[in-house]
């Protein structure tokens, strides 16, 4: 997905003046930052349904398909707008090679959650831990994401 966004982004990054692209990206970043901090809310595109459990048992590639659909967000919920912001940043302002780093980072971030959940305990307590920490963690992650993208553009 990062590659597709980077390839699509070649056109606006070549044709649209940088200050215009920075302005659009900055406005989007502020909107998403406020959303993640709970200042306002707006819907983001999402395929709001879960991957059926039977997909895991489809021949030998079922587990891979399940992981792909869930990991990439193709068939799952999107509780955060940060992935949408990163995708738009790749189209508008992120240099082509860095798009792959962003894609790798997204995969690692997605992977961290089930790993931490499994390591925490096997009684489902992670969900309660996340629910308690969410109000603090979401703004920190939003500041991290927006700050990193800002520094990337300014450098």
């Amino acid at each position: 997905m990062a590659f597709v966004a980077a390839a699509l982004g070649a056109l606006p990054q070549a044709l649209v003046p940088a200050p215009v692209r920075w302005g659009i990206a900055g406005a989007l970043a502020l909107a998403v930052l406020g959303r993640e901090c709970g200042l306002w809310s707006f819907p983001v595109p999402e395929n709001g349904r879960l991957v059926p459990e039977r997909v895991q048992h489809l021949k030998e590639w079922g587990a891979l398909q399940f992981g792909f659909e869930m990991g990439t967000g193709m068939r799952t919920y999107s509780p955060s707008a940060l992935p949408h912001l990163v995708l738009l940043a790749i189209v508008l302002v992120v240099p082509f090679p860095a798009a792959f780093a962003a894609g790798l980072g997204f995969a690692l971030g997605r992977l961290a959650m089930p790993l931490l959940s499994n390591a925490w305990s096997d009684d489902g307590a992670w969900t309660a831990v996340w629910a308690r920490a969410e109000k603090v963690v979401r703004p920190i992650l939003a500041v991290t994401c927006v700050g990193s993208l800002t520094a990337l553009v300014l450098s």
């Binding site: 940060l82 912001l85 990163v86 860095a98 961290a112 390591a119 996340w130 963690v137």
Partner: protein, 59 residues
């Protein structure tokens, strides 16, 4: 005994924030091309990781 604080979502988010801050400082102050390119890749990696972690919710 497992150090559960290291597995806490707050720990992960603070680590990402610190690494992002380090990358930002490196990207903005370095004068060497290679270091600047590395810092840009690191910043993109951190931005993506923060988005991926935030998007995972509780699962």
């Amino acid at each position: 005994m497992r150090a559960r604080w290291a597995l806490h979502p707050l720990t992960v988010s603070v680590v990402l924030l610190l690494v992002g801050g380090l990358g930002a400082v490196s990207a903005l102050v370095t004068t060497r091309d290679l270091a600047a390119a590395g810092a840009v890749l690191l910043l993109a990696l951190v931005a993506g990781a923060a988005a991926g972690f935030a998007n995972s919710g509780s699962t």
